[in-house]
């Protein structure tokens, strides 16, 4: 076979492989949306899950997912921000920094089930917090920290060096320069990073099944006192999220309409993830344009 024929053959094979992947993806997304969206009713979103009958909803799971997402972001953002500033601005180019970077990379590549089990060991058992939202949020924080840190570090490094020099030359401290000049300029990138990591948190289940737990408790949506045991805001109550719910109904399979509930919940998760992705991109672009606007 001569070179030209081989060239042609290779091209054809590459196109076929790409085509297959596109078809697979179309199949996956299509299947999730087509089999799930018809069941995504208002009733489904606003009624309680049923433990053994058909027709249950995901009201509490949806609330728990959002609540965990917010708590996790609130806990992880300051730590990730501090760590990212350290790495981008203060870390010297030496072996200590290398070691720190390796450590963060190890954390990011740890299986989420291992992170979840560590959370179980430390918070649920050792600290006696039990299966609770706070245990789940802390486990998710561990899972979220490395990726959020590196997203924010990238955003900070994207700010031109000239901006830092401008601040320093005026006699500002490094810290003031970072806080007042670098961080505002990096804001679009930081926000994009937060939203992207939010998508990951929202869909994570393995880190939660042994920390936030696999079952819900009675929630009274009229009671917003965080200290009350039935309040939605109570961080000490066990909480099942949407992703854990899918896993639970499929592995235990007690409810007769497990497939329908899972399909609808999957569609909900995927839609939220898509919204997060698009939102991150839109917001990033818009803020970027606003910051650099020639007005």
């Amino acid at each position: 076979m001569d070179a030209k024929k081989r060239d042609k053959l290779a091209t054809i094979i590459i196109y076929i492989l790409v085509g297959i992947v596109v078809l697979i993806l179309a199949g996956i997304v299509g299947n999730i949306l087509i089999s799930g969206i018809p069941h995504l009713s208002w009733h489904f979103l606003t009624s309680e899950a049923s433990s053994y009958q058909a027709g249950g909803g995901v009201r509490d799971q949806l609330f728990n997912s959002l609540y965990l997402l917010i708590l996790t972001t609130i806990i992880s953002l300051p730590i990730a921000l501090g760590a990212a500033i350290y790495l981008a601005e203060y870390a010297k180019d030496n072996w200590i920094t290398n070691l720190i970077r390796t450590t963060i990379q190890i954390l990011s590549s740890l299986p989420s089930i291992v992170v979840g089990l560590f959370g179980y060991l430390l918070f649920v058992v050792q600290f006696g917090l039990g299966f609770s939202i706070i245990s789940g949020a802390l486990a998710l924080t561990f899972f979220n920290l490395p990726i959020l840190t590196s997203n924010i570090e990238e955003a900070i490094k994207g700010v031109p060096q000239e901006q830092r020099e401008a601040g320093l030359a005026l006699g500002l401290s490094n810290w003031k320069t970072i806080r007042g000049i670098v961080l505002p300029a990096a804001l679009p990138g930081i926000l994009t990073g937060i939203i992207l990591s939010a998508g990951r948190i929202f869909g994570e289940a393995a880190a939660l099944i042994y920390t936030a737990g696999q079952s819900g408790s009675t929630i009274n949506y009229a009671d917003w006192n965080p200290l009350s045991p039935t309040s939605p805001l109570n961080v000490m109550r066990p909480a099942e999220t949407l992703a854990v719910h899918i896993w639970k109904v499929n592995t235990e399979g007690i409810i007769p309409d497990a497939t329908i509930v899972s399909a609808a919940t999957s569609a909900l998760l995927v839609i939220v993830v898509i919204v997060f992705n698009l939102g991150a991109r839109y917001l990033g672009n818009k803020l970027y344009r606003k910051l650099t606007a020639a007005k």
Partner: protein, 264 residues
């Protein structure tokens, strides 16, 4: 092998000095020496041009004067400022930089309003009197010859200004913190000829109050606005003299070659 010994280094009476260095050496990354034993004296209320080819160490020298190179390089030697060696670990570099301001090669206004660019450092320093700040904004902009062009749009983004205006804003911003010395790192290299000439006029006007040290690649510019000129070559100061002397009657062979070659 070229002889890198200095051919002439001008000195001044002690009372006229604003800033001087003694045996300043700069090492990058612990290995690469970019500057060898530079000893220069700068007379107050003059403009000194630092000239030389790329990599001759003139920018390195300039950036060492207000300790902007501390993070990337090791700087040995003495930098005397009002009877104090400011190249010491106990020196408060933030206060030092308020006294020795700097303007960079590429205009670097903050992505904030024109007013905010000027008052940012003042506010960080605790000045909050609005009237006082307004007066400083006006005076800084006037001193940088930018007031008439921007007085109606102080709250618009500084990024909307032209490159030349941005650079004059950067000068105004530096002046607002009341420095004695102004370091200028090729301030006109990113500007068109018209903006450059405006910038040069501004610098000439400021000479009565400030001591300015300017790195430039442009020989005409050096001769147009500087009183003294130092010629750097491969990290060594070869010659330092009044601008008229150094351009028309250089003492060293390397200086002469460089000036003859670059003029025109």
């Amino acid at each position: 092998m070229q002889d890198l010994k200095p051919s002439y280094i001008k000195t001044f009476a002690k009372d006229d000095l604003e800033l001087s260095t003694k045996d300043l050496r700069v090492l990058y990354g612990g290995k690469v020496q970019k500057l060898f034993d530079a000893s220069l004296q700068f007379k107050e209320h003059t403009i000194t041009a630092l000239i030389g080819a790329s990599g001759s160490g003139k920018s390195t020298f300039l950036r060492s004067l207000n300790r902007m190179n501390d993070r990337v390089a090791k700087i040995n030697g003495e930098i005397w400022f009002h009877g104090l060696d400011v190249n010491q670990p106990n020196i408060n570099v933030y206060e030092l930089r308020k006294n020795i301001g700097m303007v960079f090669q590429r205009p670097n206004p903050f992505p904030k309003s024109i007013r905010e660019n000027i008052v940012y450092a003042l506010k960080a320093d605790g000045q909050n009197d609005k009237n006082e700040l307004d007066r400083i904004v006006e005076e800084s902009l006037r001193a940088a010859a930018l007031w008439d062009e921007v007085k109606d749009k102080l709250d618009k983004s500084a990024l909307a200004l032209s490159g030349g205006q941005q650079q004059r804003l950067c000068i105004a911003r530096a002046l607002a913190v009341k420095p004695e010395v102004l370091l200028l790192d090729e301030p006109a290299s990113a500007l068109d000829p018209v903006s450059t000439s405006k910038l040069e006029d501004t610098l000439k006007q400021l000479r009565s109050r400030y001591t300015m040290i300017m790195v430039t690649h442009n020989m005409q510019q050096a001769s147009r606005i500087s009183d003294y000129t130092a010629f750097f070559h491969l990290g060594h100061v070869i010659e330092y003299n009044s601008t008229a002397e150094i351009f028309t009657n250089p003492k060293g062979k390397i200086t002469e070659d460089y000036i003859q070659g670059s003029f025109g």
